[in-house]
Symmetry: C2
Subunit: 336 residues, 2 copies
């Protein structure tokens, strides 16, 4: 297990690479640590949770809501958790978001860490300190920005990751490549989902590369006043679709990336829309969806990146180079 | 209206002294501002709210809970509030706490300010950035520490403040005097509640003195690792009593200050317990209560200042000089 420290404005975060959850004891004291996970992960890996106080939640994005946060808080009170208690989220993005959110408000803030178990959480959700819950159809409408103390990478969790979850992770990986890393984009075009599922050393490298890419973007702009916005490529329309149409996060942002690529073509003369579409398809992701334009506009209007009458959209100038472009709500409506 | 800027770690806060809520327009743009208040204040001062989008809540500590935060969030969504919206709490401590809390989590944080309308909010609750909600009998169990952009003092709100609320405010003023300001303590002994209700220029001075005292303590220790803890004098037992016995905050901490004074006498040889008791009585505050020791211990154990097997109690060495003293849970049980 190798430790690397990354500094952010508020705090620094220890990344433990090539580790195992059995080494969590070296980082967090079992007497004063509470793990948060979901039923799927708990059932699959029951033995790994034995030494720990664990709160087990129902799985799925539908539970990323205040009622679940309330439930975690109730259990923490029953366990007499205090300000010296560390909360550790072991799971995918729903678990890391809920854990970071509750740890940020419980007793006005207690320490927390993550053991991401899905590809998506490893390359994206566990990194950067954003956390939150959904309110109705509005994704992450409530939350905070607060860095975890540590992220422990245990790649063996990928052994039992369902195929659908691999695709979700690759949606964010393709996003990273599209906005920042043309050579990674080319590598993804050359390889395939089956390749990475088989060749774990390559997956390990890919995860590190993506974790580092996102970390660097966040370090440069923790509170999303500039470049961090680029990470929202595909997420504006994606979020508006996700909770309304019960798409997975990866599916929703895949459709969002196709839409943003079309906008890029029309507004900036982006020439490689077909490469983006082709890569998403290669990794089993959907590239179109039927949806109710008016309903989607209603949700889009509540996007956190909206400023009065326009929304900051992330567009591509070319593969590997994204820009922020404010687009008026009217123009979005016309283009949908 | 005079503006004074105070800097904290995270941000600086503008205090507008000697102002009027009619001047709020000079600070916040009515088109992009939402006021939060309660029914009592709204009914009493309806005209003052006319130019503003306002969320009106049921009054009272019983509503300082997540369900009310959810309600505010729902209304903000309906109003299409975005990250550029400023939330302004106009009210007592319940309103300022709820406003600061919701503003800290809505869209991961929007700007906010306060117009404190009660004496307690003016001298204490609106200052220092702590916000939160109660969870069951546990006071402020969930919350954040985040500074408002501004605090606007409009002393005319005190004209309609009920007598009971004056007493609540004086409980915190007596606390400030006890821990930090022996000469203010002597001044309070000389004067009376009736005196301050009549002599508004003196009240104005007293409010400024208390606001400044608390501000200085918080500036020195925003995240409560040291001296800020002193502000919890009377609050440890006070909070444990407050929501269980439906005492007002002032009543509860008054009893808590008497208890802490007794502990100070026994453990530190504090000689002026009777002066503390006498001053609290002079300002109409209760100095004893019957309570269920086991129930109170159960809540005390969840105090945010607990660290494992002891709680940091605030004791007095003398009037004007407080110290932090960890006391074991067992010893507290014996002494109750």
């Amino acid at each position: 297990m190798k430790k690397r420290k990354f500094s952010f404005n508020q705090a620094s975060v220890d990344y433990y690479l090539g580790g195992s959850i059995s080494q969590l004891k070296e980082i967090a004291d079992p007497r004063h640590t509470v793990l948060v996970t979901d039923e799927n992960i708990y059932t699959r890996h029951a033995k790994r949770f034995k030494p720990w106080n664990t709160i087990v939640l129902k799985p799925g994005e539908a539970y990323k809501v205040q009622a679940t946060a309330d439930e975690i808080i109730t259990q923490l009170i029953e366990m007499e958790a205090d300000r010296k208690t560390t909360l550790v989220g072991v799971g995918g993005g729903v678990i890391t978001d809920l854990t970071g959110y509750v740890a940020s408000i419980y007793m006005r803030g207690i320490p927390f860490g993550f053991v991401p178990t899905s590809l998506l959480a490893m390359v994206d959700a566990s990194i950067g300190g954003k956390n939150g819950i959904d309110v109705g159809v509005y994704k992450n409408l409530a939350g905070t920005v607060r860095q975890p103390s540590f992220i422990l990478y245990d790649m063996s969790f990928l052994n039992s990751l369902p195929e659908k979850e691999w695709r979700n992770g690759f949606a964010e990986i393709i996003k990273h490549a599209s906005i920042r890393d043309a050579s990674m984009f080319a590598e993804l075009e050359k390889n395939s989902l089956a390749f990475y599922r088989r060749r774990r050393a390559d997956t390990d490298m890919l995860v590190r590369r993506n974790a580092l890419l996102k970390t660097k973007v966040v370090q440069g702009d923790e509170f999303e006043e500039g470049d961090r916005k680029l990470l929202n490529f595909g997420h504006t329309l994606g979020h508006a679709l996700e909770n309304q149409y019960e798409l997975s996060h990866g599916e929703a942002i895949s459709i969002g990336m196709v839409y943003a690529s079309s906008l890029s073509e029309n507004l900036l003369g982006f020439k490689d829309k077909e490469r983006v579409v082709g890569l998403l398809q290669k990794y089993g992701l959907p590239v179109r969806a039927e949806f109710d334009k008016d309903l989607v506009m209603k949700v889009l209007k509540m996007d956190k990146k909206r400023q009065r009458e326009s929304i900051s959209f992330i567009l591509l100038k070319r593969i590997g180079k994204a820009v922020i472009q404010p687009i008026s709500i009217e123009e979005i409506y016309r283009s949908l």
